[in-house]
Subunit: 207 residues, 4 copies
């Protein structure tokens, strides 16, 4: 692969990440400096948001390259600590091309009230998740306890890999979703957040 | 009708659909790839959103032509499964020129808590619905059980046709509204969603 | 006053009304074709939104001139039925230059749960209302029963004129606020709607 | 420092303040004429929003210079009464470069239901506040009673200075947050408001 192609792939990935950040900000899912966004390029490189900075106002230099070990390729670049959770997904499934991590009020509040999962049932929008063809089913969204030790958190997530069609939630923290492309990942994020917003309203109705 | 006129009518319909999608996205009523939007042209053709894709970011090729049987006119185009619900409305009433189907948190949650209808009473905004001239009345919004078999769902909707001034709701799924023009359909959608949002708040107040 | 000056004053008023409509739409306070907006010009003419049409997407011809009797100056122009409520305010106080009527979820729901008034106390934002200099006071917002006979509704509003620093609410319908200029009226509208949103949240907390 | 440099610093500060006002308006945190925004320049001057006017639509002349005593440098300029609360923070800590005061529904309602503090625990977003490195901790946000006598309010705030990593709340009024730069202050504001929104939802769930 020549340098021009490599550059073009990188620019495309950065544009995807910047646009995803703006979209997430529009819904209030990347408050302060929260959230992170990544894409795997066709050549295998991983582009991810730099640690810190607002994800709704990303500039191209807000995106850096990391290896599958979660470390920055360029010395001096500082990836988010949570980069390992992205890499874990890319390592698990070669079909994954984009990972999104956002913080919403609904996911934060519901996860703090939940046990080890939030179960979504009877919603048409469940069909946006991989392998779901009907509303007449239940989708289990695992809730993992938050942990500042991300390597340790990875070991808790690992056993569920391949069994989380709607992504997962870290308690008091936020959601992780993914897809083959950024568009698919964003659609699943919107779908999951829509359903969590519905669940939150249902609980306020006492149901 | 010459080809230039036919093309102009099509372009107008596509612009109406794209603008309606943006407006619905602004309110969060087309999360992920949810929702669908159609218009009947003066020459009788039906333009409707293609299956899949985000309705807030439609491009002209995201709109396809279907016949009254809900099938794509161009081989290879894939309409939404729910196209039949649009066609049913167009077949029922020749005055209908636009149909909107959106997913909101309020319609989803209320319909899952409701019986076979949601009744709206004493709201000024009820006057936006066909034939309503006062707030001092009740408008019945039927709630139909969701069904992945859309042809079967049509048979459940059929007996209510002509008696649904505010549209209808599919349980855990979303609303259907219509009007002579896209502007009228959008106004009724905004009116219905506003009133469902009010109903949801009322129930949280325990009323 | 020469024709050029008269035209300039009219254009200014129309621009104020169009901008106010966009702002109200941004908050969801003019759903469907709801709401109306007026301004009194320095030469005494009254410009008000035409009946029907979406107030968030006004064009200059969506604004018409009415007399103090609420009737259109140009034959064929159709003002909103509620124009009389605007004229009543202009007739009551020559210092009033703009009147806004919006529909919000909070004002609709609270007014349907209220008696003959909503009382706002201990909020800093109360200071936006005429004559209020401290949070340490109560502001009474009258709630009038809705009535499709606007002339009759005017007679119910009349005794309260001059005693409504924060405007008033029509039950299940919406708010009326006013000010010397459009900016003042908009600030009071934002202040009142902010406080009604707070009241609605308070009641959901059971307070 | 030459005049050109002084002018450039002022222009930068004004741009920061205008952009912050737009951002706060986007979330509904500066309703009506509420809120105020300031920045300390590298040369020690303090730029702050003029009293009155909407903070979401600031023009350069909506920002004035004040001294550390809270008084306008230019005779005739009228700073907000709350300017003293900004100056108190600048006097307390030379590292503070920006102060934000906003009004949100969540901060207003929660502070009216709270005692002398709101405590935030177990949220990942707490890490946006100075000195917080884990979610597994509690952050105390003091709530001070509102007072129209701002000098007296300063004496109530004073004992807590240096012990408020997340800012503070004035009851029924709004939040104060700060940071070395406007970006840091805005991130903390978004973080605090996000967490107050979570707390409000939690309480509606009865937790």
């Amino acid at each position: 692969m020549d340098q021009m192609t490599k550059t073009g792939l990188w620019v495309d990935a950065v544009q995807d990440i910047i646009a995803a950040g703006r979209r997430m900000d529009r819904f209030g899912w990347v408050p302060a400096t929260a959230g992170n966004i990544s894409r795997r390029l066709p050549d295998g490189r991983i582009a991810i948001t730099r640690s810190g900075g607002h994800k709704g106002f990303l500039a191209p230099d807000g995106v850096i390259e990391v290896g599958m070990d979660g470390r920055a390729v360029q010395p001096g670049d500082r990836p988010s600590a949570e980069t390992l959770l992205h890499c874990q997904l890319y390592a698990h499934d070669p079909a994954i091309g984009a990972v999104l991590h956002g913080h919403s009020v609904a996911s934060t509040v519901l996860s703090m009230a939940a046990g080890d999962a939030i179960t979504l049932s009877d919603y048409e929008v469940q069909k946006v998740f991989a392998g779901q063809t009907t509303h007449d089913a239940s989708v289990r969204v695992p809730v993992f306890d938050n942990d500042q030790d991300i390597a340790r958190l990875c070991t808790v997530v690992a056993p569920e890999l391949g069994r989380m069609p709607a992504g997962y939630v870290i308690r008091g923290h936020g959601v992780y979703v993914w897809g083959a492309t950024m568009d698919v990942a964003l659609a699943r994020l919107e779908g999951l957040e829509f359903l969590l917003a519905c669940e939150l309203e249902k609980r306020k109705l006492g149901r």
